[in-house]
Amino acid sequence: MYDVIIIGAGVSGCAIARELTRYDCTVCVVDREEDVCCGTSKANSAIVHAGFDAQPGTLMGKLNVEGNRLMYEWAKDLNFAVLPIGSLVVCVNDEDRPGLQALLERGEANGVPDLRIIERDELVELEPNISDEAVAALWAPTGGIVDPFGLTVALAENAAANGAEFKFDAPVTAIERAGEAWQVAAGGETLTARTVINAAGVYADELHNRFVELASGDDTLQTAMTVAAEPLSIVARKGEYYLLDTTAGQHVRHTVFMLPTAMGKGVLVSPTVHGNLIVGPTASDVEDKESTNTTPAGLAEVVSKSSLTVKNVPFREVITTFAGLRAHQAAHDFVIGEVKGAPGLFDCAAIESPGLTSAPAIGVMVSGLIVDALKLAPKPEGAFDPTRPGVVNLVITSFEDWDDLCQQDPAFGHIVCRCCRVSEAQIVDVIHRVPQPRSLDAIKRRTGATMGRCQGGFCSPKIMEILERELGIAPEQVTKRGPGSELVVGYNKDRIVAPDTAGKGGDA
């Protein structure tokens, strides 16, 4: 029997798990995927929002600003990449200035520090490539960019180091009442826990609705925050993106948003912590919650909308395009709390943008609800280690320090991913961490390997070989992203079939 089962190993689930391990309790995180950070958390804008977007008084507004503050603080302990580069909301039409003012006031009401409206002259100085139409902008110095993989992995590793368990390839198939506790069937196992947290991203509505079925109608049992025992509907809102090479990474220096106008909402243009340029997202609601495909229309929209705020985005430098799904809910606020009538069943649902930014605050808040419900005591002094060792980043390592690293481990001198400068030592390091990465994408999320301009063309076979060696598996067991995504399907000449035309081609 666990004290807590968290369903979903995205950034919210991992943040909650990490915060819970400060307390004397048993935590198990289950996920249907092979690794952490495989859903909404992995494919988004990777922005640390300042917090001026959400309406004052909403959970979103509160958790965004608090999450922003905690993000920079936690980065020191957890060693993930975050850069406070600041963000700009660009107004491209004098008539829309009142909208900019409203945004400033909203941000101030939410408690965002140091907001300021800047005029074109200052804007051009900050962003030489800003659109010729730009007239003014809201400047938010606390805005930033973060490595969403690094953040999620860091939270998970720190949670695991402090005792949390992780179970992957474990889709939840049933939840039942078991006396005072709850039973969760996941990946062929039946787990029992006193509390269950729904952090299931775009599928959080299905879990919530199951929670509602299990509610007894007895709503006397209430925690600090409750969620009505009403059905919830979460729509997958697709966002498509372009990712450009690091050669384009300096095209803008801050995250550039467009002030929504009568013409609609623009796309953001921003550097990433890896030095690339990200452009997107679109927003289209899709039926299929698995449809992370890009579309011709969506990609065209990104290109055309980017030009509303930023000139001459060098799309020729594109290295990949991708799409992510946000867990959108009509009321457009996070749904956090204990489901009425179902003591022990907690929602952490509808975590759409600014969900990534809010994650640290969500972790604190949801863990707090559990602590209250279960009356958990903090671990004894020193039993919780808030720090997590980072992964060496050779891009920012001096040659002197790199030379020292090579003396300690020659594998630092063996570059595997030449585009992102990742050595064998880093790959081996992360493979032996918990939760253990077992796929090419899992290695990518932790080291950045394959994320560069050749997109794994050179390094994929080498990383596959390292995975084989370190995990003791056969080549055909190495996957891109878990079972079903095997990278090789067999061996040369294991099934030779001469085509009918073989040997008499050319006369067809």
Binding site: I496, A502, G503, K504
Partner: protein, 121 residues
């Protein structure tokens, strides 16, 4: 026997002349469509005795550097035997040390041609 007409693309240069080769009883009567003599001789060879070099690789045991060693047929083999060659190479393993030119499989598929290594391993 009736006349047979074969259409080919000449491979000698980027022109890629479309060749029309007319045969009777296996004898080439004419090659048309070529712009140079190389096209004529290519057309004649390709319809009467098309041949190819087959290249592939086979696993090598005991090599410090290689999992596979690349190989080729030492000379052209009849085009119709390409798959017989690879079929016969399925399951063949080389033993290190291997030097370029070493025979990996003699008289492959009854062609009288040896399969030789093209890499040291």
């Amino acid at each position: 026997m009736a006349q047979e007409i074969r259409e080919l693309i000449c491979i000698n240069c980027p022109m890629g002349c479309p060749l029309t080769v007319t045969l009777e009883d296996g004898e080439v009567l004419s090659v048309k469509g070529n712009t140079c003599p190389r096209g004529d001789s290519y057309g004649r060879k390709e319809v009467t005795n098309p041949t190819r070099i087959v290249t592939t690789s086979v696993p090598v045991d005991g090599s410090k550097t290689e999992r596979m060693v690349s190989v080729k047929t030492e000379h052209d083999i009849p085009k119709g035997k390409i798959f017989d060659v690879v079929q016969e190479l399925a399951g063949v393993r080389a033993q290190a040390p291997v030097a370029i030119g070493d025979v990996i499989l003699a008289n492959v598929a009854g062609t009288g041609v040896n399969v030789i290594a093209t890499k040291n391993a």
